[in-house]
C-alpha cells in the first residue's frame, strides 16, 4: 500500500480534527447557551423576586446598570450590544480571532443586563459567546487561521441552536448572517454543531418547546391579503425600530467619551420607569409572546406592548447595554401580529384564523424586517410550528416586510451598527474574488497631502491654491475626517463660510474604498470622489491606508499577484 502524499496526509489529519472539534464546540456552545439562559433567569429571580414592588422595578435596572456600565467601559469594552455584528466582524475582518475575554465578558454583562430587566434578547450574546469559545479553542489547538475562522460560524450556530431550540434556523442564520453565503462550504460543520448543541440542550432542559403554538389554519384564501397587510405593517415597524435604534445610538455615541460609563445607567433609569408602568416588557419576555400566540391578550394590551417594547429595546441597546435584538424583534412582531389578527378577526367579512396565527406570522415578519435574514425567519417559524400550511402566508408577509425594510434602510441593522463603530464589513456585491486586483494594488501611500480639520475654509482655500490637486483629504492618517474638492472650497467661501472650520462643514460620511475592493468598485467610487479616493481600513473606517487618484490608474504598474506566474 502506497503512503498518501504528504499534503494529503496533512489535509486528512486536519479534517478529522476539525470534525471532532465541530462536535465538541457544538456541545460547549450549547452548554454555554443553556447556562446563559438559566443564569439570566436566576439573576432576574434574585433581583426582582416573585412579585416585585414598584420601587424595586424602578430601582433595579439603573442600579445594576451602574455596575455593568463600569464593566463595559473598563473591563470588557467590546461586548456591548448584541454580539452578532461583532462576530461577523471577527469572521470577515479578523480571521475569526475573538479575544478570550469577549465570551467571558459577554456572559457576565449579558446576564446582568438582561437579568436586571433591560429589554434585550439572549440569542445575540449566545452567538458571540459560542463563536468566542470556538475561536478560543481553535487558537489553543494552533489550527491554521483559515480553520479558526471556519470555527466561528460553527460555534455561533451551536449556541443559537441551543438558545432558540431551532437547529435548522440556527444553521441558516450562521450561513445567511454570519458568513453571508448560503452556499458556504461550512454547511456540514454548522449542521453537526447545531445538532450536537440541541441534543445537549434538550437533555438538560427537556423537550419542552420554546412556545406553545396552536394549530394553524388558513381559513379563507382572502386571508392572504390580511397577511400581506401584516407584512407591510411589519416592514414599517421594522423601519421604525432600525431607524430609531441607529438614531438614538448615534446620539449616545456623540456624547462626551467620559459619559460612556454612565450611559447604560441612563438607559436603566428609563427602563426602570417603563417597568413600573408595564413589567411585561422586562427582559426577554418570551412568556408574553407565548400568551400572544395563544390568544391570551387583549387588542389594546398587545398594541401598547408593541410600542413599549420597541421603545424599551431601542433605549436599552442604544445606551450601550449588553444584549441582543433577536428576541425583542420576535416580541414586537408577535404583539403587532396579534393586534392585526384581532382587528382582522373582528372586521373581516370572511372566516379568519385565530389572532395567535397572526402573532406567529408577525414574529417572522419583524425578524425578516429587522434582522434581514428572511430564510432564517421562514425556517424558524416553520420549526416552531412544524406546520407546512403556515409557509405561504409567512413567506408573503416576510417578503413584503423584507422588501420595505431594505428599500428604506438599505444597510442591514447589524452592518449599520458596525458602521457606527467605524467597522465596514465587505458586502457580497463589492467583495473581490481572490484572482482580481483590488484597491490595495492601485493605492499609493506616500506623500499624501492632508488639510488640517481645524483650518478655516479661507486658509484651506489658500493652501489648496499652493497645492494643485482636484481634491484634498481632511484630517490625519490615523483620523481621516473626509475629503473636500476645490470646487467645494470655493462654494463654501462664496457662501460666507470663510471663517468656519472645514471639519464642521464635512458630512457624516465620505466616499471611500477598502483595500479589498475590486477595481470596478474603485472606478465607480473614484468618479464620485472628486479625484481623490481614500482607501481606509475595514476595522477602523477613519484610518487611512492609502489614496487612489486618476494618476494611480495611469501609472499602475502591473505586479503579479500571489501564485501568478
Amino acid at each position: 500500500v502506497s503512503t498518501p502524499p504528504r499534503a494529503q496526509q496533512l489535509r486528512l489529519r486536519e479534517n478529522q480534527l476539525f470534525l471532532i472539534l465541530t462536535i465538541v464546540i457544538g456541545v460547549l456552545a450549547g452548554l454555554a447557551a443553556v447556562l446563559f439562559t438559566v443564569a439570566i433567569e436566576q439573576t432576574s429571580h434574585r433581583l426582582f423576586g416573585l412579585d416585585p414592588s414598584r420601587l424595586r422595578l424602578f430601582a433595579v435596572p439603573p442600579l445594576v446598570s451602574v455596575l455593568t456600565g463600569l464593566l463595559l467601559a473598563k473591563v470588557f469594552p467590546d461586548v456591548r450590544g448584541s454580539g452578532v455584528p461583532q462576530t461577523e466582524a471577527a469572521y470577515h475582518l479578523a480571521r475569526g480571532a475573538i479575544p478570550a475575554h469577549v465570551p467571558i465578558g459577554k456572559f457576565i454583562t449579558g446576564v446582568l443586563c438582561i437579568g436586571s430587566g433591560h429589554s434585550m434578547g439572549r440569542e445575540g450574546p449566545s452567538v458571540q459567546i459560542g463563536a468566542g469559545l470556538a475561536s478560543l479553542i481553535g487558537r489553543w489547538l494552533r489550527l491554521s487561521p483559515q480553520r479558526v475562522r471556519d470555527l466561528v460560524p460553527v460555534g455561533a450556530a451551536g449556541a443559537l441552536a441551543a438558545a432558540f431550540n431551532t437547529p435548522v434556523a440556527a444553521v441558516l442564520f450562521a450561513l445567511e448572517e454570519i458568513i453571508g453565503d448560503m452556499n458556504a462550504a461550512l454547511l456540514g460543520s454548522t449542521v453537526v454543531a447545531s445538532v450536537a448543541a440541541v441534543i445537549v440542550e434538550r437533555s438538560i432542559l427537556g423537550n419542552e418547546p420554546l412556545f406553545h403554538v396552536p394549530t394553524y389554519r388558513l381559513m379563507h384564501p382572502a386571508e392572504l391579503a390580511a397577511y400581506a397587510a401584516l407584512g407591510v405593517l411589519g416592514g414599517v415597524v421594522s423601519l421604525v425600530f432600525c431607524k430609531g435604534l441607529l438614531a438614538l445610538r448615534g446620539l449616545f455615541s456623540r456624547l462626551p467619551h467620559r459619559t460612556k460609563v454612565f450611559q447604560p445607567a441612563i438607559g436603566g433609569l428609563v427602563i426602570g420607569g417603563m417597568l413600573v408602568y408595564s413589567p411585561a416588557i422586562m427582559g426577554v419576555g418570551y412568556e408574553y409572546v407565548d400568551q400572544a400566540l395563544n390568544g391570551g391578550m387583549l387588542l389594546k394590551t398587545m398594541a401598547i406592548l408593541c410600542v413599549l417594547k420597541l421603545a424599551a429595546t431601542v433605549m436599552s441597546y442604544a445606551s450601550g447595554n449588553a444584549g441582543g435584538i433577536f428576541a425583542p424583534s420576535l416580541y414586537i412582531g408577535a404583539m403587532a401580529g396579534g393586534a392585526v389578527g384581532m382587528v382582522v378577526h373582528r372586521i373581516a367579512p370572511f372566516p379568519t384564523g385565530e389572532p395567535g396565527a397572526y402573532a406567529l406570522v408577525g414574529m417572522g415578519t419583524l425578524f425578516a424586517g429587522i434582522i434581514r435574514a428572511p430564510m432564517t425567519s421562514v425556517f424558524m417559524i416553520f420549526e416552531i410550528t412544524q406546520d407546512y400550511q403556515i409557509l405561504v402566508p409567512l413567506m408573503v408577509a416576510n417578503m413584503l416586510s423584507f422588501a420595505i425594510s431594505r428599500r428604506y434602510q438599505p444597510v442591514p441593522v447589524y452592518h449599520a451598527l458596525l458602521h457606527q463603530d467605524g467597522v465596514h464589513l465587505p458586502s457580497p456585491v463589492t467583495q473581490a474574488p481572490m484572482s482580481v486586483r483590488t484597491a490595495r494594488h492601485l493605492m499609493w501611500t506616500d506623500n499624501v497631502p492632508f488639510i488640517s480639520p481645524d483650518l478655516s475654509v479661507e486658509h484651506a482655500r489658500q493652501w489648496a491654491r499652493e497645492h494643485d490637486a482636484p481634491a484634498y483629504l481632511v484630517g490625519t492618517r490615523d483620523r481621516l475626517e473626509g475629503s473636500v474638492t476645490r470646487r467645494q472650497l470655493e462654494q463654501w467661501y462664496e457662501s460666507g463660510k470663510a471663517a468656519d472650520p472645514i471639519v464642521a462643514l464635512l458630512g457624516d460620511s465620505f466616499v471611500h474604498v477598502h483595500p479589498d475592493h475590486p477595481i470596478d468598485v474603485v472606478l465607480e467610487r473614484l468618479s464620485r470622489s472628486g479625484g481623490m479616493l481614500p482607501v481606509v481600513s475595514r476595522t477602523e473606517a477613519h484610518r487611512l491606508e492609502g489614496v487612489i487618484t486618476p494618476d494611480s490608474l495611469l501609472t499602475f504598474e502591473h505586479r503579479p499577484l500571489a501564485g501568478e506566474i
Partner: protein, 379 residues
C-alpha cells in the same frame, strides 16, 4: 506537521490528543455543572409556580377572577409541565367568559396530552357552554375513552351523565338514549345513581327503560319516594295503569304531578267499562256514568258558547248522544259493540269539549285515556 522526523510528529499528535482529551473533560464538567444549575433553576421555578398557583386558587375562591388569571398565567409560565396549572387557568378563563382563551390553553395542553381526560372534559364543557353539540360530543367521548384509574370509575360515570344531561338540554334525545343505554349496561348497585339514570331515561322518552331502572332502585331501596313516583309515572306513560296505581299509591304526594297522575289513574281504574273481570251491573254503571258525565260536559260547553255559534260537529255529537242514550236503555246495552261505540262517542265528546271549552278535568283526561286504551280515536 514538521517537515521531518517521526519524533516531532508523534509529539505533535500527542499534544493534540491531550488537548482534545482536555476539551472533552471540560465538556463533561460543563455538562454536569450546567445540568446542576438547570436543575436548581427548575426547582426555583417549580416553587414559584406553586406559589402563583396557590395565589391563583385563592383569588378564584374570593371571586377575583382577573387576579386569578394573572397568577395562574405566571404559574404556567414558570412551570409548563404541570397540567394542573394549565387546567386551572383554562377554568378561570372560562369563568371570566374568555372561551377562546380557555380553549386555546386547553388545545395547547391537549397537543402534548391528547388522551388526558381532564383536558378533554374541559374542552367538552367549553363546547357545551357554546351549544356546539358536535365538538362537545367529540371531546366528551375523548374524555370518556381516556384511561381512567379504577378508583375513578365514578368520576367517569359522572362525565357520562354530564354528557347525557347536555344532550337532553340540546333536545338530542336519540343521542342521549344511546349514551344512556351504554351507561346503564354497567351500573353498580347504587340507588341514587340508578335513580338518576332512570329519570334521564324518562326525560329522553324511553319509559320502558326508565321503569326498569326505577324498579332496580326500588329493589335496592323499596321505599324510595322518587323511585316510586318515577316508576308510577313511567308505568302510567306506558299505559300500565294498575302497575302505575301500585307505585303511585305508595309514592309521597307532595309533588303536584304525582298527585294529579294518581288521581287520573284512580279515575281510570274506576271508570273503565271494558276493564277485566267486571260484573255486568258494574260495567253498565261505569258506561252510564261516563256517558252522563260526557253529556253534561257537552251541554255545559254549549251553554258557554254564544248562541248560533255551535258547529256541525257539536250538533252532530248532540244528535249521536241522544241516539246512544236510547240505546243504553235497551237490553243490548252491555254487548261489546255497544260498549265500544259508547267509549268511542265519549272519547269524541271529550276531545271536542277539551278543545273548545277550557282545560280538562282529571276525569276528562281519564276518559280520554280510556278511549285511547281501547282504540277509540277522536275524529
Amino acid at each position: 506537521l514538521p517537515p521531518n522526523g517521526t519524533v516531532e510528529r508523534a509529539a505533535l499528535i500527542h499534544r493534540e490528543i491531550l488537548q482534545l482529551a482536555v476539551l472533552i473533560l471540560v465538556a463533561i464538567g460543563a455538562f454536569l455543572l450546567t445540568r446542576a444549575v438547570a436543575a436548581s433553576n427548575r426547582d426555583t421555578n417549580a416553587r414559584d409556580a406553586a406559589e402563583w398557583y396557590r395565589r391563583g386558587q385563592q383569588a378564584m375562591a374570593t371571586g377575583h377572577v382577573n387576579d386569578a388569571i394573572d397568577s395562574l398565567r405566571r404559574a404556567t409560565t414558570k412551570d409548563g409541565s404541570d397540567t394542573r396549572y394549565m387546567l386551572a387557568l383554562a377554568r378561570a378563563l372560562a369563568v371570566e367568559g374568555d372561551a377562546d382563551g380557555a380553549r386555546s390553553v386547553l388545545v395547547t395542553l391537549r397537543e402534548s396530552a391528547p388522551e388526558d381526560a381532564a383536558v378533554n372534559l374541559q374542552l367538552a364543557q367549553l363546547a357545551a357552554a357554546q351549544a356546539d353539540v358536535t365538538e362537545a360530543l367529540r371531546f366528551y367521548h375523548n374524555a370518556l375513552d381516556a384511561r381512567w384509574p379504577v378508583q375513578e370509575a365514578g368520576a367517569r360515570r359522572e362525565v357520562h351523565l354530564e354528557l347525557i344531561r347536555f344532550l337532553l338540554t340540546q333536545e338530542q334525545a336519540g343521542r342521549a338514549l344511546s349514551e344512556l343505554l351504554a351507561l346503564s349496561a354497567d351500573l353498580p348497585d347504587d340507588a341514587p345513581l340508578r335513580l338518576e339514570v332512570a329519570q334521564l331515561f324518562a326525560k329522553a322518552g324511553d319509559n320502558r327503560h326508565a321503569l326498569e331502572q326505577f324498579q332496580e332502585v326500588l329493589g335496592l331501596a323499596p321505599e324510595n319516594g322518587d323511585a316510586l313516583a318515577g316508576a308510577g309515572q313511567a308505568a302510567f306513560q306506558l299505559g300500565e295503569y294498575p302497575l302505575a296505581h301500585t307505585y303511585l299509591r305508595r309514592a309521597p304526594t307532595e309533588k303536584d304531578d304525582v298527585k294529579n297522575t294518581r288521581e287520573i289513574v284512580d279515575l281510570l281504574l274506576t271508570h273503565d267499562p271494558l276493564a277485566a273481570r267486571l260484573g255486568s251491573a258494574e260495567r253498565r254503571r261505569r258506561l252510564e256514568g261516563d256517558f252522563s258525565y260526557a253529556q253534561q260536559r257537552l251541554s255545559a260547553c254549549l251553554e258557554q258558547r254564544p248562541a248560533g255559534s255551535s258547529s256541525d260537529v257539536v250538533s252532530g255529537l248532540q244528535s249521536e248522544a241522544r241516539t246512544f242514550e236510547d240505546q243504553l236503555k235497551s237490553p243490548s246495552a252491555l254487548e261489546q259493540d255497544t260498549v265500544e261505540a259508547g267509549i268511542d262517542l265519549i272519547t269524541r265528546i271529550e276531545h271536542v269539549v277539551v278543545q273548545q271549552c277550557g282545560p280538562p278535568t282529571a276525569l276528562d283526561r281519564a276518559l280520554g285515556l280510556i278511549g285511547r286504551q281501547h282504540g277509540a280515536e277522536p275524529r
